[in-house]
C-alpha cells in the first residue's frame, strides 16, 4: 500500500473544496442566491471561462493528493517507503516525469540543444548534437522520419480528441433531452443553435478545444518533449503542469487567510462606528502605508532562518517547500485584506442606517445577531466579487515575487521559478525560449479565464453593473 502524505496546503485545499461544496448546496436551496449564479451560467464568456478553469482546477486537485510509494526491495518487510513524495498527477504523468534528458532540448527535438563530445564506437571523439535519450528515441533516422512521425501523431491525437468529444457531446445532449423531454434530434438542433437555457454549445466548444489540446499534446508527449526540456533535462511540459497547483494554491488560500480578517474587521468597524471604527481604521491605514514587499521579504527571511535552525522538523524537501508556500499565502493574505476591509466598512456604514437594521434594534436583537443576519448576508456579493477579481492578481503576484527571489521555494514548481530560470537563458545565443513560452501560455490561460469569469460574476452580482436584479 501507499502511504498518504498530507501537506499543509493539501489539507487547506480540501477544506476549501469542502467549503465550496457546502456553499453550492446552500446556494442551490435559496432562490435569491441562485438567481445571480444563473446569470453567470447564462453568460457565454463566463461559461467558456468556467470550463477552462475547471480544467485547471482538476489538474491542481490531482496534484494535491500526495503519497509515498512503498520501496520494492522492502516488499517482504513492509513499512518502508520511498523518500519521494508523489501526487496522483505525477503518477499519471510518469513518462513525462521520468523522461529526463541531459540538458536543454528544443520542443519536439530529437537531439540536444548543445554540442557534446561523444566517443564513437571506433574510439574517436566528436562534437555533435547527441540524440536524446527519450525524445524521438523510437525513430531510426530522425532527420528523415521526425516530421512524418509528428504529423501522424498529431493526426492520431486529433482523431482521438474527436472521438472523446463526440462521446461527451452525445452524453450531454442525451441528458438534456431526457431532462426536458425533447427528442434527441431536437435536442441536438437546439444545442447547435444555442436555443437552450444555458449556453451549452459554448461549453461544448470550449471543452472541445481543451480536449483537442490535451489529446494532441498527450499523444506527442509519449515520444517527444512537447515544450522541450530545461537545463537539467526536465520536461518543461511537466514543469508547467505542476506549476498549476502552485498558482491555484496562492490564488485561493490567500483569500482564505484574508477573508476572516477583512470581513470581521470591516463590518464591525462600519456597524459599531465610534472607537471600534477608529482602532480598525488606524490598523489598516498603518498597514497600508508599509510597502507590502517589505513585509513579505521580512517574513520570508524569518522563515528561512527558522528553517535553517530547525532542519529536523521537515521530513522531506517537499514538506519544507510546502510550508514556505503556505507561509507566502499567509503573508500575502495579511498584506492584502485592507482593500476589501475598507469596502466592507463603507457598505456596513450604509447598511446600519437602513430601516431593517433599525427595526431589528427596535426588537432588541443583539449586535452579534444583527451582524450575522442583517449585515453579513448583504455584503456577501461584494466579498465574492472581490475574491474572484483578486484571484488572478495573486497568481501574477506569485510570479513576480518568485522572480525577485522572495516567492516560493526554488524547488517548488511554479511559473515564477520557470520564468526566473528562463531569464538567464534568454541571453544565450541561440535563445532558449520554450520555458518562458510554456509558463507564459499556461499562466495566461489561467489569468485570462479567471478575469473573464470575474467579469461575469461582477455583472451578475453587482447591482450597479446593471446585470444583477435585486428587489422588485
Amino acid at each position: 500500500m501507499v502511504k498518504p502524505v498530507f501537506l499543509w496546503t493539501d489539507t487547506l485545499l480540501y477544506v476549501l473544496v469542502a467549503a465550496v461544496a457546502v456553499l453550492v448546496w446552500y446556494v442551490r436551496r435559496h432562490e435569491h442566491l441562485r438567481a445571480p449564479w444563473r446569470e453567470v451560467f447564462r453568460n457565454r464568456m463566463g461559461v467558456a471561462a468556467m470550463v477552462v478553469l475547471a480544467a485547471y482546477v482538476t489538474v491542481g486537485l490531482l496534484d494535491s493528493v500526495h503519497f509515498r510509494l512503498p520501496l520494492e526491495s522492502s516488499a517482504a518487510g513492509g513499512e518502508r517507503y520511498s523518500g519521494q513524495v508523489l501526487s496522483v498527477l505525477d503518477l499519471l504523468l510518469t513518462p513525462l516525469r521520468t523522461h529526463q534528458e541531459e540538458t536543454y532540448s528544443a520542443p519536439l527535438a530529437t537531439r540536444l540543444y548543445s554540442k557534446e563530445t561523444v566517443r564513437l564506437p571506433d574510439g574517436r571523439d566528436v562534437r555533435i548534437y547527441p540524440r536524446l535519450r527519450f525524445g524521438g528515441a523510437q525513430l531510426r533516422d530522425p532527420a528523415r522520419d521526425r516530421l512524418p512521425d509528428i504529423e501522424r501523431t498529431i493526426l492520431r491525437g486529433v482523431g482521438f480528441a474527436l472521438l472523446v468529444w463526440g462521446a461527451l457531446a452525445a452524453v450531454v445532449i442525451l441528458v438534456l433531452a431526457r431532462r426536458h423531454r425533447w427528442a434527441p434530434r431536437a435536442a441536438l438542433q437546439r444545442v447547435l443553435a444555442g436555443r437552450t437555457d444555458y449556453p451549452v454549445h459554448v461549453a461544448l466548444y470550449t471543452a472541445g478545444a481543451l480536449i483537442l489540446f490535451a489529446s494532441v499534446t498527450g499523444h506527442l508527449a509519449v515520444h517527444y518533449h512537447v515544450f522541450g526540456t530545461d537545463k537539467v533535462g526536465q520536461d518543461v511540459f511537466y514543469e508547467t503542469l505542476k506549476s498549476i497547483r502552485t498558482g491555484l494554491v496562492i490564488g485561493t488560500l490567500t483569500t482564505l487567510v484574508m477573508l476572516p480578517l477583512a470581513i470581521v474587521l470591516g463590518i464591525t468597524a462600519g456597524y459599531f462606528r465610534s472607537w471600534v471604527d477608529d482602532v480598525i481604521q488606524y490598523i489598516y491605514t498603518t498597514l497600508n502605508s508599509i510597502p507590502g514587499v517589505l513585509l513579505i521579504v521580512g517574513a520570508i527571511l524569518m522563515l528561512e532562518v527558522y528553517m535553517a535552525n530547525h532542519p529536523g522538523d521537515f521530513q522531506t524537501v517537499i514538506a519544507r517547500a510546502d510550508l514556505r508556500l503556505l507561509f507566502l499565502c499567509i503573508i500575502l493574505g495579511i498584506t492584502s485584506w485592507t482593500g476589501l476591509c475598507r469596502l466592507l466598512r463603507g457598505e456596513a456604514l450604509k447598511l446600519r442606517e437602513l430601516d431593517y437594521v433599525q427595526a431589528a434594534q427596535a426588537f432588541g436583537v443583539g449586535h452579534t445577531k444583527i451582524l450575522a443576519r442583517h449585515i453579513l448576508p448583504n455584503v456577501m456579493h461584494i466579498v465574492l466579487i472581490t475574491v474572484v477579481l483578486d484571484f488572478s492578481g495573486l497568481v501574477l503576484a506569485e510570479a513576480v515575487l518568485t522572480y525577485v527571489g522572495v516567492g516560493v521555494d526554488p524547488t517548488t514548481y511554479s511559473w515564477g521559478n520557470m520564468i526566473n530560470g528562463a531569464r538567464l537563458e534568454l541571453a544565450r545565443d541561440p535563445v532558449v525560449w520554450w520555458s518562458l513560452a510554456a509558463a507564459f501560455l499556461f499562466m495566461f490561460g489561467l489569468v485570462l479565464s479567471a478575469n473573464l469569469f470575474a467579469d461575469a460574476v461582477r455583472d451578475a452580482f453587482d447591482p450597479r453593473a446593471g446585470g444583477g436584479r435585486r428587489g422588485g
Binding site: H32, A360, G364, V365, R373, P377
Partner: protein, 683 residues
C-alpha cells in the same frame, strides 16, 4: 383644429425585446392645445413617464423603443425627424423638467453656467446679452438676488430652488410645450404650492402649453385644464377639469377619488382598489382593470373596451359606456353612478369609532426631548458645531389614540421617533412610557420593554432584509424578545399575523422583493404587531405608496386600532391623512412643536402662522378653489444655526420685532389646543 400644438396618435413604446418586453405605452392618443395645461394622472408604473420620454424620444437606450404611432408637433412628426433636428426640438420647442431636482443638475457647474448653456444652444446669445437673459430667467422663476445666485453651485440651493433652476433651464429655449414629470413630488407642500403657482404664472405670461405628470389629484385640481387618466399603458378617461372632478366616469377614476382620505370619511373605511397594476409584459384580451374592478362582468374579460365619448370632450375606455354591452352588466338597471357608490359603501362595514374619546390615560409622555448631533470636522474630529435636530419636544399619546406629528422634511420628525424608541439616545429630556422612564433604562431592562413600542418605517423597500424570508422577518422580534419559545407555535402566530394584515400563508416562505410596496408595508405592520405592542410609531408609512394603496394601509391601521386598542404616533407631512386618521395633531418646525391640539380644532382654525401656511398650501380637490397661497419667504433654515427668537421669524408673514428677540412660550387657545407664537400672548 389650428390651435392644437401637440397631437399624439396611437403611441406605442416598449422596453426590452421578445416576449418579456414591457409595453410601457400601448396606444395612447391625446391632443394638447396651445396654452393649455394637460394633466396626465395615474398610479406609479402606469406609463406616464414613458409617454413623456417618448415625446422627447428619450427612452432609456438601448432597451426602450417606440414601436408605433405618431407624435405631431404643429403637424411635424417628431418620430420621423433626424436626431440632429430632434436635438433642436428638445429644450427648444419642448422643454422638460424632472421629478428629482437633486440629480438633474450638474454639481460642478454654477447655476448660471447651466442656464447659460441652454440659452446659448437654443437662442444663440453671447456675451452681455447672454448674461442678461440668464438673470432675467432667474428672476422669472422667482429666485431673489439673481446676480448672486447665478454664481452659486447646486449644493448651495435648497430643493425648491433647484427645481426653480430646472424650470429656468427648461424655459431658456422659450418652449411652446413644457413637460413636467412629477415636478413637485420630491418637495414639501409649502414649496410645492410655490412651484405650482410659478408654473401657472409662467404659462399665463408666455402662453406655453404644459404637460403635467402627477399622481396627486389635488395638484390636478389646482392646475389642469384637461385631465387624462392613465392605467396600465393606456388612457382610460379624458375630460376637461370641471366635468372630470364633478363626475368621473371610469371605475378606476372613481376609486381614485374615493380612496383619498378626508375628514368627512373618518367614520368609515376608505375605498380601496384591490390588487395592483398588472404586469405590462402580458397581452390583454379584456379590460386591463378587470382584475381590480368591482363592476367587472364577463364582457370585461372577453373584449377589450373601446373608447366611448360620454359627453363633449369627455371620453372613457370602459364597457359600461357601451350601449350594446351594458345590458349584460350586473345591476344594469341601476345607473352606472349609483352602482359605483354602492360598492364603495359595501367595501366593508363601518367600524364604530369607539374608544377614541378623550380622557384615556397617557401611554407615552415626552417632555422637553432634545437630540443634538455633533458636527465633527478637522483634525482629530473635534466637535465644531451641533445640529439641533430636536430641541425641546413635548407631547403625549393616550391609550387607543392617534397623534399626528406634522412638519416639513428635515424638521426632525424621524429623529423624534427614533429618540422615543431609544434607537437614538436623546441628549436631554424624558420619555415616560406607561410610567417608566425609558431614557434611564439600559441593556436587558430596555430590551424587555421594547415589545411595548414598535415602529413602521417610511420606505417599504428598505425596511426588510432582502435576504430573509417573510416568515423569518416577522418572527424575528418574537424570537429576539423570547416571546414564543416554541418554533411551531411561533410559525402559527406568524401565519395568524399575516392573515390579520390580509396576506395569505404562502407569503411566509417568499422573499420581500416578490411583494409590492403596499404588501411590504403590511408585512412591516405584521412584524411590528408580532410582539403585541401597545404603541406603534408610524414614520410616514404611506408616503411611498399610491393613493389606492395608501387607503388599504390606512384602513388596516384604523381597523387594528379599533380591535386591539393600539396607540399610534403617526408621523407624516400629508395633512389629508391626518384629517382622516388622527385624533390630535402636533405641528413641528425646526426641532420644536409650534402648535398642537385636537385635529378638528387645529385644521378648522389654525392659529400659528406656519400651520396656516401649511394648510393653505395643501392642494384641495374642490376644483378651482384657489385659496390664496400664503407665501413663505425663503427656505426652512438649517438646524445647525437656528435663527434667533422665533425660529419661524425669517419666513413669517406676520413677524413682529419681539419675534426676533425671544422664543415664544406656549399659550393655550382652546381645549387642549396650544400655540407658541407671540401673536397669542399668554393670559
Amino acid at each position: 383644429m389650428a390651435d392644437v400644438l401637440l397631437e399624439i396618435e396611437d403611441l406605442e413604446a416598449r422596453i426590452g425585446a421578445g416576449p418579456r418586453a414591457v409595453r410601457a405605452v400601448d396606444g395612447v392618443s391625446l391632443r394638447i392645445r396651445r396654452g393649455e395645461t394637460y394633466a396626465l394622472l395615474g398610479e406609479s408604473g402606469c406609463g406616464k413617464s414613458m409617454t413623456a420620454l417618448s415625446i422627447m424620444r428619450l427612452l432609456p437606450a438601448p432597451a426602450g423603443r417606440i414601436t408605433g404611432g405618431r407624435v405631431l408637433l404643429d403637424g411635424i412628426d417628431l418620430l420621423g425627424l433626424s436626431e440632429a433636428r430632434m436635438r433642436a426640438v428638445r429644450g427648444g420647442r419642448i422643454g422638460m423638467i424632472f421629478q428629482e431636482p437633486m440629480t438633474s443638475l450638474n454639481p460642478v457647474l454654477t447655476v448660471g453656467e447651466q442656464i447659460a448653456e441652454s440659452v446659448r444652444i437654443h437662442r444663440g446669445l453671447r456675451g452681455g446679452a447672454l448674461r442678461g437673459r440668464v438673470l432675467e430667467l432667474l428672476d422669472a422663476v422667482g429666485i431673489p438676488d439673481a446676480r448672486r445666485r447665478a454664481g452659486e453651485y447646486p449644493h448651495q440651493l435648497s430643493g425648491g430652488m433647484k427645481q426653480r433652476v430646472m424650470i429656468a433651464i427648461a424655459l431658456a429655449g422659450e418652449p411652446e410645450l413644457l413637460i413636467a414629470d412629477e415636478p413637485t413630488t420630491a418637495l414639501d407642500v409649502t414649496i410645492q404650492a410655490e412651484v405650482l403657482e410659478l408654473l401657472r404664472r409662467l404659462r399665463a405670461e408666455t402662453g406655453m402649453a404644459l404637460l403635467l405628470i402627477t399622481h396627486d389629484l389635488g395638484v390636478v385640481a389646482q392646475t389642469a385644464d384637461r385631465v387624462g387618466v392613465m392605467y396600465a399603458g393606456q388612457l382610460v378617461e379624458e375630460a376637461a377639469r370641471a366635468p372630470f372632478f364633478a363626475d368621473p366616469r371610469h371605475p378606476y377614476s372613481r376609486k381614485l377619488f374615493d380612496s383619498v382620505p378626508t375628514m368627512a370619511k373618518r367614520a368609515r373605511p376608505l375605498a380601496v382598489i384591490p390588487g395592483s397594476v398588472p404586469e405590462l409584459t402580458a397581452t390583454f384580451s379584456g379590460c386591463r382593470f378587470a382584475e381590480r374592478c368591482a363592476r367587472a362582468w364577463d364582457a370585461c374579460r372577453e373584449r377589450v373596451p373601446q373608447w366611448h365619448r360620454v359627453a363633449d370632450g369627455h371620453g372613457v375606455r370602459c364597457h359600461l359606456y357601451d350601449a350594446a354591452l351594458v345590458a349584460g352588466a350586473p345591476g344594469a338597471a341601476v345607473s352606472a353612478d349609483a352602482a359605483a357608490d354602492a360598492d364603495t359603501a359595501a367595501a366593508a362595514p363601518a367600524p364604530e369609532a369607539g374608544g377614541h374619546g378623550p380622557g384615556g390615560a397617557d401611554l407615552l409622555r415626552v417632555r422637553d426631548l432634545a437630540v443634538h448631533f455633533p458636527v465633527r470636522s478637522g483634525l482629530f474630529a473635534r466637535t465644531r458645531a451641533k445640529v439641533y435636530a430636536v430641541d425641546g419636544v413635548s407631547l403625549a399619546v393616550g391609550v387607543g389614540r392617534t397623534v399626528a406629528l406634522v412638519g416639513e422634511s428635515g424638521c426632525g420628525k424621524t429623529t423624534v421617533a427614533k429618540a422615543i424608541l431609544q434607537l437614538i439616545r436623546p441628549t436631554a429630556g424624558s420619555v415616560r412610557f406607561d410610567g417608566v422612564e425609558l431614557t434611564a433604562l439600559r441593556g436587558r431592562a430596555l430590551r424587555a420593554r421594547r415589545r411595548d413600542f414598535q415602529i413602521v418605517f417610511q420606505d417599504p423597500y428598505a425596511s426588510m432584509n432582502p435576504r430573509m424570508r417573510v416568515g423569518e422577518i416577522v418572527e424575528e422580534g418574537m424570537a429576539a424578545l423570547g416571546l414564543v419559545a416554541d418554533r411551531a407555535a411561533r410559525r402559527r402566530r406568524v401565519a395568524e399575523l399575516l392573515a390579520q394584515v390580509g396576506l395569505s400563508e404562502p407569503a411566509l416562505s417568499r422573499y420581500p422583493h416578490e411583494f409590492s410596496g403596499g404588501q411590504r408595508q403590511r408585512i412591516c405592520i405584521a412584524r411590528a404587531l408580532a410582539v403585541d405592542p401597545r404603541l406603534i410609531v408610524c414614520d410616514e408609512p404611506t408616503s411611498a405608496l399610491d393613493v389606492s394603496v395608501q387607503a388599504q394601509i390606512l384602513n388596516l391601521l384604523k381597523g387594528l386600532q379599533d380591535r386591539l386598542g393600539l396607540s399610534y404616533l403617526f408621523i407624516t407631512h400629508n395633512l389629508s391623512v391626518v384629517s382622516y386618521l388622527a385624533d390630535e395633531i402636533a405641528v413641528m418646525y425646526l426641532g420644536r412643536i409650534v402648535e398642537h391640539g385636537p385635529v378638528s380644532a387645529v385644521l378648522a382654525a389654525p392659529r400659528h402662522p406656519y400651520t396656516e401656511a401649511l394648510l393653505a398650501a395643501v392642494p384641495t380637490l374642490e376644483a378651482g378653489a384657489h385659496r390664496p397661497v400664503i407665501r413663505l419667504e425663503g427656505d426652512p433654515p438649517s438646524p445647525v444655526d437656528p435663527p434667533p427668537g422665533c425660529h419661524f421669524q425669517p419666513r413669517c408673514p406676520r413677524a413682529m420685532p419681539v419675534c426676533r428677540e425671544r422664543y415664544p412660550v406656549g399659550t393655550v387657545v382652546g381645549a387642549g389646543h396650544e400655540v407658541r407664537c407671540h401673536l397669542y400672548p399668554g393670559a
